[in-house]
């Protein structure tokens, strides 16, 4: 995978994904190795981000690499009207690899095709966020020891949630996933993605109540429901509390159940869940560092 950009999760085959997850295990065991000492990585965040940017920068620094870049477009020459082409062409002369987040969709693909400097997409608008998808897969593998034959419950905004769509597509590369889709009627998973599930030999069921799936799933993947997604505000008021997870609801869940969330959470997971051993979302956020270390090492030809 040397020098190959990662723009969309679809750019990687199942074998390549498993390869990255394998390397991530090595970094989980030993995250501080000075393998990037002679490398400069550009971290270009044209719009703000907390978790993604900091976990990338932590991943780089723990491996001894140097980071250059900006944390939002207002502190760069973009503010002066510079084109993305010129920004990327210039910064690729200063760095070995570019990590970028940009509000326009397709911007990372465009940047990756300008020259030989590899690009990792850290989010291009509502389009793709492949490193989130990889860390989700890693967290599932870490807690279930497999990516085959699992019951995966996806809860919340399944219509607009970019991470949910990527995760469904990635899990569809594996065997016999049973998807349990829990969402308000207005925020159901798009038809095209449900067709994709079936076409790849998996199954799904749809629910409107989270309590219907808690006892029959291995992974409970929670997402935030945003008020502005509802055309009818009364509908939002009516459903908002049916997608909040409380500790008491987990009583009869499977022993191997683990709860994931791409974060940030607002109120959809009550804080009383945090101390439950089944809560895995902070480890999930930490896994973001190991997976990004694995990607950097792989793309720079160091693993």
């Amino acid at each position: 995978m040397k020098n190959r950009s990662l723009i969309s999760i679809n750019d990687y085959s199942k074998e390549e994904i498993l390869h990255i997850l394998k390397i991530a295990e090595e970094f989980e065991a030993n995250p501080r190795q000075k393998i990037l000492e002679n490398h400069v990585i550009a971290s270009l965040f044209f719009e703000p981000s907390t978790r993604t940017r900091l976990s990338f920068e932590s991943a780089i620094m723990q491996l001894g690499g140097k980071v250059i870049g900006f944390t939002d477009a207002s502190s760069s020459s973009v503010k002066k009207g510079e084109s993305l082409r010129d920004t990327i062409e210039t910064i690729s002369l200063y760095s070995d690899l570019i990590v970028m987040r940009h509000p326009l969709e397709g911007s990372s693909r465009f940047a990756s095709e300008l020259n030989d400097t590899p690009v990792i997409n850290a989010g291009d608008g509502a389009n793709q966020h492949p490193t989130q998808c990889l860390l989700d897969l890693y967290s599932i593998m870490q807690t279930q020891n497999t990516l085959d034959g699992l019951d995966i419950a996806l809860v919340g905004d399944l219509k607009y949630g970019r991470t949910v769509h990527s995760l469904v597509i990635a899990l569809s590369m594996f065997k016999n996933t049973r998807f349990h889709l829990v969402s308000p009627f207005e925020l159901k998973l798009p038809r095209s993605i449900k067709d994709f599930i079936i076409a790849n030999g998996h199954t799904y069921e749809q629910y409107t109540d989270i309590s219907q799936v808690i006892e029959k799933t291995d992974i409970l993947y929670m997402t935030r429901i945003q008020q502005e997604r509802f055309a009818d505000q009364l509908e939002y008021e009516r459903v908002k509390n049916s997608y909040i997870l409380e500790n008491s609801m987990l009583e009869n869940s499977r022993d191997n159940l683990r709860i994931l969330h791409p974060m940030p959470r607002v109120n959809e997971i009550d804080e009383n869940v945090d101390t439950n051993e089944k809560a895995h979302y902070f480890q999930q956020a930490q896994n973001g560092v190991f997976v990004r270390q694995a990607l950097l090492a792989s793309i720079l030809g160091l693993r």
Binding site: S8, S83, L84, R85, P103, L104, E105, G106, S107, R109, F110, D124, G125, A126, N127, Q128
Partner: protein, 153 residues
């Protein structure tokens, strides 16, 4: 009494191209795609003409102008049924259909307002995913543009 003419007579082409069987309602769009609006030689065009095959059709006759395949395939996105007839010295020298290409580069607009191609100088590029009921996937933002949404740059 003189026979009343019921058809509009259009003079035959000596040299040029007839684009026949254009879906009715798309004639002006085809003119625009082929940049015939700025063409200086004679052009006849008609819409809502009777067609045995399609009921109604559009047609364009262009004098002294011939088209390369690449150029003409652009119109396949809105006029997949079009037939091209090349005429030289009043004789039909070539008759052909149009083909929807596998990739569409540089002349169609992406439907996604947040796509990079709609904000910066980036040539558009699509992969045609359905030729029967036209659907094109943007190389950049990965969104699908459908037949009725196709706009030309």
């Amino acid at each position: 009494m003189e026979n009343k003419k019921t058809e509009l007579k259009v003079s035959a082409l000596e040299n040029g191209t007839v684009i026949d069987h254009i879906p009715t309602g798309h004639v002006l769009q085809v003119m625009r795609i082929l940049n015939l609006e700025n063409f200086e030689d004679q052009i006849y065009f008609g819409a809502n003409l009777d067609s045995k095959k399609y009921g109604k059709k559009g047609l364009i006759k262009v004098s002294n102008r011939f088209f390369e395949d690449l150029e003409i395939n652009k119109i396949s996105l809105v006029a997949p049924t079009a037939t091209l007839i090349e005429i030289r010295n009043f004789d039909v020298t070539k008759k052909s259909g149009v083909t929807i290409p596998d990739t569409v580069e540089g002349f169609a607009k992406c439907i996604n307002p947040k796509c990079i191609t709609n904000h910066q100088k980036v040539a558009t590029k699509f992969y045609v995913t359905d030729k029967d009921d036209l659907k094109m996937k943007c190389h950049y933002c990965e969104k699908i543009t459908k037949k009725n949404d196709v706009e030309f740059l």
